[in-house]
């Protein structure tokens, strides 16, 4: 019962940490769009967190580069569990047009476990909200 309440509370108040591993900023701008009056995800209790220790969800935009590889792993380990990872944009999901680049260190799911993929270049805010709804269905 107590555990059930905690899961319910988790579903209703996701704190999101936004990690940009050197993306082109298009996805980042679309993520910020979700916080604006038109979409306002604070209605559902989602807020941006300043520190990874406060976060429940790690949003990753951009490809995993050789330089960022260790940092992404450390950030994932530092995230207090239960925590989830969302890959936003074609770059984070598959590598996108940079998949043959010399800096490419594998798509995100080869580095850390990914819960939800939101493809698009960039994905629309509606797509991101749909992805987060899928994440909420996954939390049990």
């Amino acid at each position: 019962m107590a555990l059930d309440l905690k899961t319910k509370a988790l579903k209703k108040s996701l704190s999101v940490f936004h990690l940009s591993t050197g993306s082109c900023n298009n996805c980042d701008i679309e993520i910020l769009d979700c916080l604006t009056p038109r979409f306002d995800i604070e209605r559902f209790g989602m807020t941006l967190a300043g520190s990874i220790k406060h976060a429940d969800v790690l949003l990753v935009t951009g490809i995993v580069t050789v330089k960022n590889l260790s940092r992404i792993k450390v950030l994932y380990q530092q995230m207090p569990k239960p925590g989830f990872v969302v890959a936003i944009g074609g770059c984070a999901c598959t590598g996108g047009i940079f998949r043959d680049g010399y800096q490419m260190a594998g798509p995100l799911d080869r580095v850390i476990p990914v819960d939800v993929y939101i493809p698009g270049c960039p994905p629309k805010p509606e797509a991101m909200i749909a992805g987060i709804v899928k994440l909420l269905e996954k939390i049990k």
């Binding site: 555990l3 509370a9 009056p37 209605r43 209790g45 300043g50 520190s51 406060h54 429940d56 207090p80």
Partner: protein, 302 residues
């Protein structure tokens, strides 16, 4: 018996002020959202946040002083609860002698605790935040205490209950020139105590990533949030009792409380963050000067 009385006061203070504080925190978020043309979170949002944080893992960083790191939030919640209990006791039950001084002293502890939390985290950004928090404490404490002198001069007593009784007989302090100036000074200083936006240097989210709280997660973070909610409700209740003749009429009292809360949120939403040197200049310059003006007016009887 005495111990039982103190314990029941403590529990009463904790329950009432934490629930009022959590709801005030929600009102703060909701008003902020409406000001930004958004809808804002539902009323149970802060309860959900708190319950969620109790269920999360607590990560203790490697370079941290574990004992202080975990002790700081507990001491903080304890201190603000005691301030709430003192306020309850001096308004409704037996007043404690010199309770105003105890109150001012205990109201300083949250800032000290935040400093302790930042410096024991073993994080560079947290230690920057801790240093800023101490500078903030030094800046706002002087005008805060000077502003609180005004009702003491008017009523000739340093007891919260005596000051309240004086106001019920002679009209609220805020009705006088000196009281109005002192209230504005105390409100701005209290904004600094809360760490709200013009004075949020110690946890500047976009600059030093939550500063002093950067390493906190799980239950200790929940306790810190609870501490700030209780501080919010205790502080506003104190301002209402101290300057606006208290909660004698329940509806008027609630309106006074919400009015001060809205004022704080409006200041929070319409001001940019100040640098530490600007804060020091502002509070030791303008605020302290106006505090002295209020004290002189009070001595002259206005």
């Amino acid at each position: 018996m005495e111990i039982l009385r103190i314990f029941s006061l403590f529990v009463m203070g904790f329950i009432s002020f934490s629930i009022i504080g959590i709801m005030s925190g929600w009102l703060d978020r909701k008003i902020t959202a409406r000001l930004q043309w958004r809808v804002g979170p539902p009323w149970w949002q802060n309860f959900a946040d708190f319950i969620k944080l109790t269920g999360k893992e607590t990560v203790i960083p490697e370079g941290a002083n574990q004992f202080l790191f975990l002790l700081a939030p507990v001491v903080g919640v304890f201190a603000v609860t005691v301030t709430g209990a003192i306020l309850l006791s001096s308004v409704f039950f037996n007043p404690i002698r010199w309770d105003l001084f105890i109150f001012i002293y205990l109201l300083m502890i949250p800032s000290v605790v935040i400093f302790l939390a930042g410096s024991s985290s073993g994080n560079v950004l947290a230690s920057i935040g801790a240093g800023r928090e101490l500078r903030l404490l030094l800046s706002y404490e002087l005008p805060f205490i000077i502003a609180l002198l005004v009702p003491v001069i008017k009523s000739g007593s340093a007891q919260i209950q005596q000051i309240l009784v004086y106001q019920l007989e002679n009209g609220a302090n805020i009705g006088y020139v000196s009281g109005t100036i002192a209230f504005i000074v105390a409100l701005l200083a209290f904004q600094g105590k809360l760490g709200y936006v013009p004075f949020d240097v110690s946890e500047a989210e976009t600059e030093i990533a939550a500063g002093t709280f950067i390493e906190y997660s799980g239950f200790p973070l929940a306790l810190f949030k609870l501490m700030r909610w209780i501080l919010l409700s205790v502080g506003i209740s104190f301002l209402v009792i101290y300057f606006m003749a208290g909660f004698r009429n329940a509806v008027a009292g609630a309106l006074k409380y919400v009015g001060i809360l809205i004022l704080i949120v409006l200041i929070k939403n319409t001001n940019p963050r100040l640098r530490t040197d600007q804060i020091l200049k502002f509070s030791w310059g303008w605020l302290t000067m106006f505090g002295f003006v209020a004290v002189i007016f009070a001595l002259m009887g206005y």
